[in-house]
Symmetry: C2
Subunit: 262 residues, 2 copies
C-alpha cells in the first residue's frame, strides 16, 4: 500500500494528541531521556505536515503498515506501531533504555503493562461510565469511584511498585532509583510519570501515602534530575498537566481527609 | 532467591484462577492450540501442589523471578512472567503462533493489547465503579455503562478488528480466517475468545452487529474448528463461561432491542 502521508527527516516520528500529556507522554519521555532524534508530528504546524490532520490520516489507515486503533503511534523504518507498552518494548533496546537480556525485557514489558492497567483506572476515576460521556455527565459516579481509587487502588498499585523497587535493591546493591538492575530504564521513566500524574491529580492522597512509598518517590526524584529529562521538563516541549488528559485535578475527587469507601 | 514453590514435570506452568476463563483463557487457548506440555497448576488438587494456594504463593513473592501483580502467570525455564499480552508475546515464537519477523511480532503484540483494552471495557460494564464492589452494589451504574458499551464501544472495537481482517485479506490472498498473514496466530485465538465471550454476555447486541463483522465471525468459526482447539473446547479443561468471569450474561444489560444511550 502506498504511503500517502508525509515522512519527516527525524529518525522517529511520534503521533499523539498535541495538547495533552496522556499516554503519549510515556513515549516522549523515553525519546527525550535517550536524546533520540524525533518529531512530535501533531505539534508541528499543519503547513509543515503536522497538526491533528497528520494523526487522523494514520488512524484512517493512510499510512502503510498496521492500522492503529488509537494514538500514541510511532513510525520508524517503515513500521507503524501503536499501543504504548508495545512502542516502549520496541524502543527500549534501540534507545538503550532496557537491559539486553530477554528476562529483563520481559520483566520491563510486564511492569509497563501493570503501569498501563493502573493508568486506565486513574483515567476511569473521572470516566467511570466510559469515554462517551463528559466528566460533568458522570460526576456522582466519579465521586464513588474516586473514593475507592484513593482508599484501595492507589495503595495496592503503589505498594506493589514499592515492593518491586525493594526487591531490585535487595538483588542489586546500589540500585537505588531504578526498578531493573542498576541503570535507567523506560520503566523508571514511566514510574516517574505515574507518580507525577498522581501528585497532580490527587495531591492529598499522595501526601498520605508518601511515607509508605519512599523508593517510588526516590525514582521520581532521580528521573527528574536526569540531565536530559530535566531539560525536557523545563522546555515548552513538556505540555503541562491539564483537565483534558488522564491525570486531572478535580479537587472534589481528592478530599483533604480520607473518607469511608462505598 | 530460593524457589519455595513446587516445580512440575510439564514444560509450561500456568497459574490462574481455577474456576473462571478470565484472562487466563487467552493463555490456555495458546497452549492448547499448540499442543504444548503444560499444567494448569491451580486446577490441580492441593495435595499435588495445586489449588489457589500455589497461585497465592507466587503472588506473595515466593517464586524466584519477577514479582507478579496479578494472574495469569506463566513459569517457564526459571522465568515468572505476568500480564496476558506479555505472556503471549513470549509464547508466540516458542509455540509457532506468530510469524518470526519483527514486524509481525510487533503487530501481534499491538493487536493483543487492543484486545486487552476492549476486555477491560467488557469487564467494567459490570464493574463501572471498580473491583472493590460487587455488581449488585453498582447496578444502576452498570446499566448506564452497558448502554454505552453496546451502542458505541462494541461497534467501534469490533469494526476495527473487522477492518484489520479486511486489510490482511487484501494483502494475503487466501488469508481468510487469520489476522496476521495466512497462518493461525495467538491473535486469532484471542479474537475467537473475545467474540465467544461477547456472544455469551451480549447475545442480542452481537446478533445486531453480526452483519457488519462477517470476517471476525469467520475467525471465530475457523478457530473453533482447529482440531486441537475443538478437542479442548469439548473437554472439561474448558471452564464454562459464568458470572464470576470477565464476560457475564446479565440479561438486564443486554436488552433485546437497542436503546438510546446516556
Amino acid at each position: 500500500m502506498a504511503t500517502r502521508t508525509k515522512r519527516f527527516a527525524a529518525e522517529y516520528e511520534l503521533y499523539y494528541w498535541p495538547s495533552i500529556q496522556g499516554r503519549g507522554e510515556f513515549i516522549r519521555l523515553a525519546l527525550e531521556a535517550a536524546g533520540a532524534a524525533y518529531v512530535d508530528v501533531a505539534r508541528l504546524p499543519q503547513r509543515q505536515g503536522g497538526g491533528t490532520r497528520a494523526l487522523f490520516a494514520l488512524l484512517d489507515g493512510e499510512g502503510d503498515g498496521v492500522l492503529p486503533f488509537a494514538p500514541p503511534i510511532l513510525r520508524h523504518e517503515g513500521l507503524v506501531i501503536a499501543q504504548t507498552a508495545n512502542i516502549l518494548a520496541y524502543l527500549g533496546p534501540r534507545l538503550g533504555l532496557v537491559p539486553r537480556d530477554e528476562a529483563s525485557r520481559v520483566a520491563a514489558a510486564q511492569h509497563q503493562l501493570t503501569i498501563a492497567d493502573f493508568v486506565v483506572e486513574a483515567h476511569d476515576v473521572h470516566h467511570p461510565l466510559g469515554v462517551d460521556l463528559y466528566y460533568e455527565d458522570q460526576k456522582p459516579e466519579s465521586h464513588r469511584r474516586a473514593r475507592l481509587f484513593v482508599s484501595s487502588r492507589m495503595p495496592k498499585f503503589l505498594g506493589y511498585f514499592e515492593k518491586l523497587l525493594q526487591r531490585n535493591q535487595a538483588a542489586h546493591k546500589g540500585a537505588g532509583g531504578h526498578v531493573l538492575g542498576k541503570a535507567l530504564s523506560y520503566v523508571d521513566l514511566s514510574l516517574f510519570q505515574l507518580a507525577s500524574g498522581l501528585e497532580y491529580a490527587f495531591p492529598h492522597a499522595m501526601k498520605r501515602l508518601a511515607p509508605k512509598i519512599p523508593r517510588l518517590l526516590a525514582v521520581r526524584e532521580g528521573v527528574a534530575a536526569e540531565p536530559r529529562v530535566a531539560a525536557y521538563l523545563a522546555s515548552d516541549r513538556r505540555i503541562p498537566f491539564n483537565e483534558d488528559g488522564i491525570f486531572r485535578h478535580y479537587p472534589e475527587l481528592d478530599p483533604a481527609r480520607a473518607r469511608a469507601t462505598g
